[in-house]
Amino acid sequence: MFKTIRSAFQEYDVNFLFAIIVLVLIGIITIYATGFDPIEKVNSGLYKKQLLWFIIGAGCMFAVSRIHYRLLGDYSLYIYLILLLLLLITTIFGAKIRNTRAWISFGFFAIQPSEFMKLACIILLAKYLELRQFDIKRLRELLIPFAVIGLPVLLIYLQPDFGTAMIYVPIFLTLLFLGGADIPQLISIVGIATIALFVPMMLTYLEWSGVSISGGIFSFLKGNELLYIIAGSLLIISIITFILYFFFNSKIYRAIYIPAFIFSSGLFLSVLIQRFLKEYQKRRILVFLNPDLDPYGSGYNVIQSKIAIGSGGIIGKGFLKGSQSQLGFLPEKSTDFIFSVIAEEWGFIGAVIVLLLYAYIIYKGFTIALKAPDKFGMLVAGGITCMIFFHVIINIGMALGIMPVTGLPLTFLSYGGSNLIMSLISVGILINIDSRIR
């Protein structure tokens, strides 16, 4: 037993492991600080739970790091299906916590399947993309990946956990990108999504800011009938030009049918989103763009977070001295806004150290992906690293007031067992891939 551990440590990249442990410990210390009530002089004890999760997570990490990563690929479909079932059960029967059915209880502990699903999706997609690596430039090869991602995203959206569902999208797109998908195809997909989102956002914004909508482009966007007519005619144009292209193979037709298709499907989707996205979710994205729109709601969080970070200054206010977090002005301080607490109590220096640790971890992740022995390993390592990266930029970006408020945990730092354990398992996989390089 000790021999395995010792030999394992010889194989491991100690710096990498060290960076992760330091981050988790910074997280636990910060959770200790946020759990402290300066008026009642008691601690909520949340940090003890996180410590327990860390120990469990470290065990899982060690165990996974001993499993050959290709084995994960072989079982990826089963892992995925089991988690999909769990996710379905959770979405239907899960315990309702803050209006969201994201947790499934196992007696003395509860897990969040949507967190583990991220990893399962990465592994399954990596496996698929490895199998299809020579054909992936064809559009129809993207259908299965869409289904693989679409099902859990839909279930998570129904929980409803908007933030978690959203994070799947960039992870998915990056995996396709790394897996060799055709770039114009990806750009088209993103283009459709952008158009589909832009229209409802615009309408919500105008309605909210009290602009009376009349005439011109607004009545066009608002009146669904006209929207259908335009989108429909664009679709017909694109079909006709596609048929022409099919017979005559002239590049001019290609230049017409692709953008026409993008616009028409974007507009059709926008109608769907207009109906599908809840008003508060649309507003949330708008408030991100301009927190002053809602100084009491989600804008309040961003304003308080910026105050916390900004007031930290260069050297910070000191441990347990951050007034914004200690006195409760900063919301969600142990989860979504934990970075703000660190920046407040440890200042610019502390914040930069955290950023550097993440940069180092991402750098190491990419190095492993580059050197991985096979395509599967590359994609899994790249996918996991990008997953960490997206969590970091969305969470810290939100805390800094330059990204939307989505309620995502900050990997390794935020309080939360499922995310921590999942992240540590991911690290275990990275370590295993790394160990196969040498």
């Binding site: 300066p38 990108f177 105050i307 900004g310 006195l327 610019f348 930069v352 590359m378 800094l400």
Partner: protein, 608 residues
């Protein structure tokens, strides 16, 4: 081989794409780094300030506003307090302290229910204000309401209270035009005064002494520095700064004289000024109609203020300094001085008064005297107020000389009194008449001018300064209402108002002696004979200004009385009075009795 090369190509593509993502990572981390520099280093101070504002719920400790006393103040006895304060509380809310709008609404709804206030109006008003500012939900709340709120913080989350003493004016209307009143800063006032330390929630003097001496009376607010958490629970508390109470003010006004003048004027519209010419101390200043400052500063005062503002009798108008009237016969004194000084007019020369004077012209025009006086000299003309005598004197002098003397004697100069809003009298000129009416100055205008009818206008305060010049051998002191300023506990005198010379008019002693004699005769056997029995030798001059028509004797007359006493005493002992009654019947009938009562009181008080 081909398979291997495709493989290498795919690997190569993967590397390129990973590098691309790597660049994105670097860019985004770079953005984060610069945003951290921006927030923590560049804007660090501003955010520290905001964070401090978040947790420091600084509760102002209002400085108690200085009290105001009458002139007989002495530190160790029971004094007449004309303005003071009583303790009370304000209920306040800072909307930015709520994380959720619903919580704010919940708290405000409960407070409105408790205080019986219209919730919809108040919540709309709160949300239209800066959420970081303190919003006063209700002023002047009793202590038991505060206790209810303090003990039910779950029902009234983040609802706060503060000491807010309420100003009290024990004598209501009687001193309203002297002392004025206080009120919340308007937006304009805030913008004007915020640089000199006024806070948006403070009160400011709006009129009278309260306005003029606001910086003396208000003191400097202190504050309690309270560290609170987001739920407004207190973590620590300390006095940030002790308040410095405002200074007390002792007025030159005498309570008894003020009360007499106030009562004597009754319900009539008009004004009374009693002053010591030797120093400029104002002993009484009454203007009617007036208002109750206690009602104006009370809560829900909007209706009262509207009512007062729309009152056609203009109760907010301080008629002593803000109204001007034709001086009427009191102006005959000016004409007389001009004649004595300029023409070396022999006061013993008699002119014949048949009851009217006919001005020759294209059409002859008659100017009347109220009775036929026969032959009168200057002294009798003053005493009996014979208009025919002054018509001729005025024509002899010419209008320009009279204008010059009216200006010379300060009738259109500001008195410089220490309450705000003063206007000056008005002296016409030939040029002015041409410009305004498109007509030249006629002799008929001169005739009217010489007895103070027509275009000439004076304020009662301007008239008082003219009388002061007669009493004080041409020296006029600035009229003032404040005698001294004392520390808040009255233990020490902060400053004493020293009489300030306003102007010195070189008039010959014989001229002044003649005028005084004429005024003395008016009391002994002339128009103001009613004052003759007083123990003090009074001098005076009545006036009856015809305001609407010069020929018809209808009720539209303003009654004047100007006077002083004792007649032959050193100036330090003399007290002067100006009484002005709007639409009084005649000077002798309505204005003189007021002067009579005022001087009776002065005599009773042993002022002479």
């Amino acid at each position: 081989m081909q398979f291997a090369s495709i493989r290498t190509k795919i690997i190569e593509e993967f590397r390129k794409r990973l590098f691309f993502i790597g660049i994105i990572v670097i860019v985004i981390f770079g953005i984060f780094f610069f945003q951290l520099i921006n927030l923590q280093i560049i804007q660090g101070k501003e955010y520290s300030e905001k964070s401090r504002m978040n947790m420091e719920n600084n509760i102002p400790i209002p400085a108690s506003r200085g009290e105001i006393y009458d002139r007989n103040f002495a530190p160790d006895k029971q004094n007449m307090v004309l303005a003071t304060n009583r303790p009370s509380f304000n209920i306040i809310v800072i909307p930015a302290r709520y994380q959720e709008k619903q919580k704010l609404r919940y708290a405000v709804k409960n407070v409105c229910a408790l205080l019986k206030l219209p919730y919809d109006e108040i919540i709309a008003d709160i949300q239209s204000n800066n959420p970081y500012n303190r919003y006063i939900i209700q002023e002047d709340v009793p202590f038991d309401i505060v206790v209810t709120i303090a003990t039910n913080q779950d029902k009234f989350p983040n609802i706060m209270w503060e000491d807010a003493p309420v100003r009290v004016y024990p004598f209501s209307n009687m001193f309203s035009h002297v002392i004025g009143y206080i009120g919340s800063l308007t937006k304009d006032e805030y913008n004007t005064y915020k640089d000199v330390g006024y806070k948006y929630y403070q009160k400011i003097g709006k009129a009278g002494i309260e306005r003029q001496y606001d910086s003396t009376l208000r003191g400097v607010d202190g504050y309690v520095r309270r560290i609170v958490d987001a739920k407004n629970r207190t973590e620590g508390e300390e006095i940030g700064q002790h308040p410095r109470p405002g200074y007390n003010i002792v007025l030159t006004i005498d309570y008894d004289v003020q009360k007499t003048a106030y009562t004597a004027l009754g319900d009539k519209r008009g004004s009374v000024i009693v002053m010591k010419p030797a120093t400029g101390e104002i002993i009484s200043l009454v203007s009617k109609p007036d208002y109750d400052p206690n009602l104006i500063i009370s809560k829900n005062n909007a209706k009262i203020i509207n009512q007062l503002n729309s009152d056609k009798n203009k109760p907010f108008l301080n008629r002593t300094i803000q109204s001007r009237y034709p001086p009427a016969s009191t102006f005959k004194l000016v004409t007389a001085i001009a004649a004595l000084e300029e023409e070396k007019w022999n006061p013993n020369v008699t002119l014949y008064c048949p009851g009217k004077y006919t001005l020759k012209g294209y059409v002859d025009r008659d100017f009347y005297c109220y009775q036929a006086h026969g032959s009168v000299n200057l002294l009798w003309a003053i005493a009996k107020s014979c208009s025919v005598y002054f018509y001729q004197l005025g024509l002899k002098l010419g209008p320009t000389t009279i204008f010059n003397y009216a200006g010379y004697l300060g009738l259109a100069e500001p008195s410089g009194i220490d309450i705000p809003g003063e206007i000056t009298g008005f002296i016409p000129s030939k040029k002015w008449k041409l410009k305004t009416f498109g007509q030249p100055w006629f002799d008929g205008d001169t005739v009217n001018l010489s007895i103070g009818q027509g275009f000439m206008l004076v304020t009662p305060m301007g008239m008082m300064n003219f009388i002061a010049a007669i009493v004080n051998s041409g020296v006029v002191f600035k009229p003032h209402l404040v005698k001294e300023i004392r520390s808040n506990d009255n233990s020490s005198i902060v400053s004493v108002v020293v009489p300030e010379k306003l102007r010195e008019i070189p008039l010959s002693p014989t001229t002044l002696e003649t005028i005084k004699q004429g005024m003395r005769m008016a009391v002994m056997s002339g128009t103001a004979a009613r004052l003759g029995y007083l123990k003090v030798e009074m001098c005076g001059k009545t006036g009856t200004a015809q305001t609407r028509s010069k020929r018809q004797e209808d009720a539209s007359q303003h009654a004047w009385f100007v006077g002083f006493g004792p007649y032959d005493a050193e100036p330090e002992k003399v007290v002067a009075i100006v009484v002005m009654v709007e639409y009084g019947v005649a000077g002798a009938a309505t204005a003189v009795p007021v002067a009579e009562q005022v001087f009776s009181t002065l005599i009773k008080k042993g002022c002479f």
